[in-house]
């Protein structure tokens, strides 16, 4: 089992390495470089040469990659172009904000999705299922920029209960931020919860139809005991990976929602730095988002390994 974990870990590192290569090469083959995009129309002659010298762009690409990668490993992403500030300082608050948004959505969305999924499965084809499933399909299919806009219109403009867009400096404290995130969280949670609830529903229904549940019923196990002991552990196991992907998606920045609400998170930073052609930041974001995906999937794999007795013993026996 430890060997397997080690293998997954190494695979994750390899993935990150490849992602870093791809982002680096991608940025490299774009026409122009950091200097031309920063200097814009003044990108000629001495100014350009000075800039190239200052940013070290005159060294061959592979050497630059190595020194960049070496610095990244030590946690230093270099300087952003537009703000002329350290990328770490740019990223820090953004990551914090995205984390706040994501955690709130996770805390609300995942338990809700599980509960709704289980309810719809247990009351399959009955009233609770029909109502919840219909609502879920609606919130799944309405694109988030529409639902977000509607939310702003109703809650912020008509009712004037909450701020419609987030106009705060990037580095506000948590409590100042809190009222601002309610609407974005609702907008995100709607889609996320609906997706996951549908997944949980089908997984529970599948387990309910299995031979071992029929057996548990015929053994005389009371209904709720059967649900908690026999159904849920087996039905929720495959959900772990979906939950993990959702979390990674949330942390990686929910681009559209952040843009609609003007929320200072990672997602909006991606858009901003691309439109500003701030290539070092794009590069840094690429590697950070990849790390988030890789590490969350790694954790999900560990959890599955730990919770699934089938996998556990198979590995230890080996």
């Amino acid at each position: 089992m430890f060997f397997l974990i080690f293998k997954r870990f190494v695979l994750g590192l390899i993935t990150l390495f490849i992602v870093s290569l791809i982002t680096f090469i991608g940025v490299e083959i774009l026409p122009g470089d950091a200097c031309t995009s920063y200097l814009e129309r003044e990108a000629f002659g001495e100014a350009l040469a000075a800039c190239i010298k200052r940013l070290g762009l005159d060294v061959p690409a592979h050497e630059r990659y190595i020194s960049w990668a070496y610095n990244v490993i030590q946690g230093d992403f270099g300087y952003s172009l537009s703000g002329q500030m350290q990328i770490n300082e740019v990223l820090g608050p953004r990551i914090k904000n995205s984390l706040v948004l994501a955690s709130a959505a996770i805390i609300i969305g995942i338990p809700l999705a599980l509960i709704l999924g289980i309810i719809t499965a247990l009351w399959r084809d009955k009233m609770p299922d029909i109502i919840i499933s219909t609502v879920a399909i609606f919130s799944m299919t309405i694109p988030e920029f529409i639902s977000a806009t509607l939310l702003i219109l109703i809650v912020a403009i008509w009712l004037e209960w909450l701020p419609g867009i987030v106009i705060v400096p990037t580095d506000v404290t948590f409590f100042e931020l809190l009222p601002n995130i309610i609407l974005p969280v609702i907008a995100i949670a709607m889609i996320m919860t609906a997706h996951m609830a549908r997944m949980v529903r089908s997984s529970v229904i599948q387990v309910m139809a299995s031979d071992y549940i029929q057996m548990a019923i015929l053994k005389g196990v009371p209904y709720w005991k059967m649900v908690f002991k026999h159904v849920l552990p087996n039905a929720l196991l495959p959900a772990i990976n979906v939950v993990a992907l959702t979390i990674a998606w949330l942390l990686g920045g929910v681009v559209v929602t952040e843009v609609v609400f003007n929320y200072p998170g990672l997602g909006r930073l991606v858009i901003e730095s691309i439109s500003n052609r701030d290539l070092p930041v794009v590069q840094a974001l690429g590697i950070i988002l990849a790390s988030i995906y890789v590490s969350i999937n790694f954790i999900a794999d560990l959890l599955t390994l730990m919770l699934n007795p089938r996998l556990k013993t198979l590995q230890t026996r080996k």
Binding site: D211, Y212, M215, K219, K229, H230
Partner: protein
């Protein structure tokens, strides 16, 4: 005192079709289960036997509903009780032993917990007593070291062990009635015989009534006192086991018994034409009318009633039952194989060994051999043109592995496979040329999985024809029609999808697809295991007819010794991927034989209550073949000591031409086994 523990009155269960029609699955079932007796419910798939068994617990599957009648357990109608009341009866008064214990045990819960759960629900034991009882139960079902067993998860046990756990779980509540739904189907022959023995002992010890649902008349014959035969949702015959199995007075039962291959008979069994009508498609007369050889005009228009004959304590649903015995005695069967075997060798397996172990990247790099104990080893078999050779053995014997290797789906580790005396067959499918691929075709066990559900029969059959012969247009159509003709299906089947066919029809399409390539060799991998007996007989008959017509060579893999005896000229017995015995089939089934063959033959269940299986060896499951010595040393009842453990046994040739690989002298074996 009422001696009936369960009374079923006029029970009807059905479902609503998409058009809103009510379609019956069970029609007017009336029967009683008496205290302390074991009743068998027999029928082919779709006869409603499992639905009936579940109804006996008050359980109706999702989508089905009762349309009439009642199911009385101790005068309480189970079908009108609510869930709470049912929970008190299920497991405590009536317990179920499921068909596939591997799937019926909850995967995330330990064995001990699942048994304890039943004890908690149905007894007043405290924690210590419960633990003691778990050990007792596991002991009672003869599982080794109960304390360790209780801590295992279901997937860590073998099929036979899982089934035993299911039995222990059912016994935990001390039920008065035990329902067994195909409890031994899917187990190896020796395991099956052991589990049946166990069930019989339990019935004797505890006095529990049992209802044993099965399609296997062999198993029914071993355990039951009384038998109910079901056909198309009705009871067609009911009576004492001897009466039913020895002198069946219903034409369906008669045909069913005839279609079972038996060790005591040679040649193919008689097959019954047609198939069971689907629910909702039952005509106005007797439901068996279409397939009956003894029908009269009356049968077509009038439904026969279940008639009780008090002199033989039997109920029968047939107008002509009194004449059946005299009519059937006139029928004689001569279905001996007429294979034209030449001495032309077509396939030669020389020193073949196959390994599933994957080399690690580093070992591959160093070119190091990691697996010194491959799954299949030292296989030497010569196959002549036109013969049928069967590979038999229990699961894990390597029989399918060898088949896959001949087909090119698995690489051989050592040795070679030669085709048509000179052509060496590559273990890599991609390196075989089109001609080699065409010459060897494979038919799989389960036609549901081997036929593409999104292709019509025409598309399925046109693929080999296009691929190997480049047929197109009207020529292609004619060829497909000819193929369908060959497997006795009309040309109108062309436009159908696999889901619109019955199990037997699907397997016929699979057979037709194999023959479409005009192969020299057809590899049959358990081709009849998923089929009902009457359909099995028809498919075997078809395979034999096609072979006689076209001179094809069959390599036939099966776990069923009786089927193998019926269809094959030569038999190779395998244990743990090693050959034990090989020879002409009539000789392999006679003594002297390899101790493993002896064990296998002993465990075969004949549909006759007077022939009991002989259990000579334990049904332990070995995960790996032993590194040295005889492959069967772990279970051999005739083991003679260290020689068997350390030395590979030599081949010995018997008087009849069968070769046995054993340390015991063949003359000695003959004396011991007679």
């Amino acid at each position: 005192m009422n001696t009936n523990i369960q009374e079923i009155k006029d029970l009807c269960i059905g479902f609503k079709s998409q058009k809103g029609e009510q379609i019956s699955i069970l029609r007017n079932i009336t029967t009683n289960i008496r205290k302390g007796e074991t009743v068998g419910i027999v029928g082919e798939s779709g006869s409603g036997k499992s639905t009936l068994a579940l109804a006996m617990m008050g359980y109706i599957k999702h989508g089905l509903f009762t349309t009439g009648g009642e199911c009385l357990f101790k005068s309480k109608d189970l079908l009108s009780l609510n869930n709470k009341e049912l929970e008190d009866i299920r497991g405590r008064k009536i317990a179920m032993i499921p068909q596939n214990a591997g799937q019926a045990l909850t995967p995330n819960l330990k064995i001990g917990y699942q048994i304890e759960e039943a004890l908690k629900l149905h007894t007043d034991f405290n924690k210590v007593e419960r633990e003691k009882k778990i050990s007792e139960l596991l002991n009672q079902v003869r599982l080794p070291s109960p304390s360790i067993m209780a801590l295992r998860y279901p997937h860590e046990l073998s099929g036979g062990q899982q089934q035993r756990v299911a039995v222990a779980m059912a016994l935990a509540g001390n039920p008065e009635l035990l329902l067994l739904d195909e409890p031994t189907t899917g187990l190896d022959v020796t395991t099956q015989a052991h589990v049946l023995e166990l069930l019989k002992d339990i019935a004797k010890e505890t006095g529990t009534s049992m209802v044993y649902v099965s399609h296997d008349l062999g198993a029914i014959a071993q355990v039951c006192d009384r038998v109910i035969v079901m056909y198309a949702g009705e009871i067609v015959l009911e009576g004492p086991v001897r009466k039913i199995l020895k002198e069946p007075i219903h034409p369906y039962t008669y045909g069913l018994l005839k279609s079972i291959p038996k060790l005591s008979l040679s040649g193919l069994p008689d097959s019954m034409p047609g198939s069971q009508p689907q629910p909702g498609n039952i005509g106005s007369g007797c439901s068996f009318y279409d397939r009956c050889n003894f029908s009269s005009d009356e049968c077509k228009v009038k439904v026969p009633e279940l008639e009780y004959l008090s002199d033989i304590d039997t109920s029968v649903r047939c107008f002509n039952h009194s004449e059946l015995i005299s009519k059937t005695s006139e029928q004689k069967i001569t279905n001996d194989l007429k294979n034209k075997i030449t001495i032309d060798e077509i396939l030669d397996l020389k020193d073949v060994s196959i390994s599933y172990a994957k080399q690690g990247i580093i070992d591959q790099f160093l070119n190091k051999v990691t697996d010194t104990n491959p799954t299949v080893k030292d296989i030497n078999i010569n196959i002549n043109k036109g013969e049928t050779i069967a590979l038999v053995g229990e699961s894990g014997s390597g029989k399918s592995t060898i088949l896959k290797s001949i087909a090119g789906l698995l690489k051989t580790k050592d040795g070679y496979i030669k085709f048509d005396k000179e052509k060496l067959l590559s273990g890599d499918l991609k390196k075989r040329n089109s001609e080699d691929l065409r010459s060897i075709q494979l038919i799989f066990q389960n036609p549901d999985e081997s036929l593409n559900p999104n292709h019509t029969v025409e598309q399925i059959l046109s693929q080999p024809l296009k691929l190997y012969f480049g047929l197109t247009g009207s020529k292609l159509k004619t060829s497909i029609a000819e193929l369908l003709e060959k497997v006795r299906l009309g040309a109108f089947y062309m436009s159908r999808y696999p889901r619109q066919l019955s199990g037997g029809e699907k397997q016929r399409i699979a057979v037709a697809r194999a023959f479409a390539a005009r192969p020299d060799i057809i590899l049959c991998d358990e081709v009849t295991s998923a089929l009902d007996v009457s359909v099995q007989a028809a498919v075997l008959d078809l395979l034999q007819k096609l072979k006689e017509e076209l001179g094809t060579t069959y390599v036939f893999v099966s776990h069923d010794l009786a089927v193998v005896k019926a269809i094959s000229d030569r038999v190779a017995v395998l244990y743990q991927g090693r050959l034990c015995e090989i020879g002409p089939s009539k000789d392999v089934y006679q003594f002297p034989s390899h101790p493993y063959t002896e064990v296998l033959i002993g465990a075969v269940l004949e549909p006759d209550p007077d022939i009991r299986p002989k259990l000579v060896a334990e049904d332990i499951v070995e995960e790996k073949p032993p590194e040295i010595g005889c492959s069967f040393q772990g279970r051999c009842p005739r083991i003679i000591g260290d020689k068997c453990r350390n030395e590979t046994p030599p081949w010995q040739i018997g008087d009849n031409g069968n070769a046995i690989r054993c340390h015991i002298n063949i003359e000695e074996l003959k004396i011991q086994q007679s």
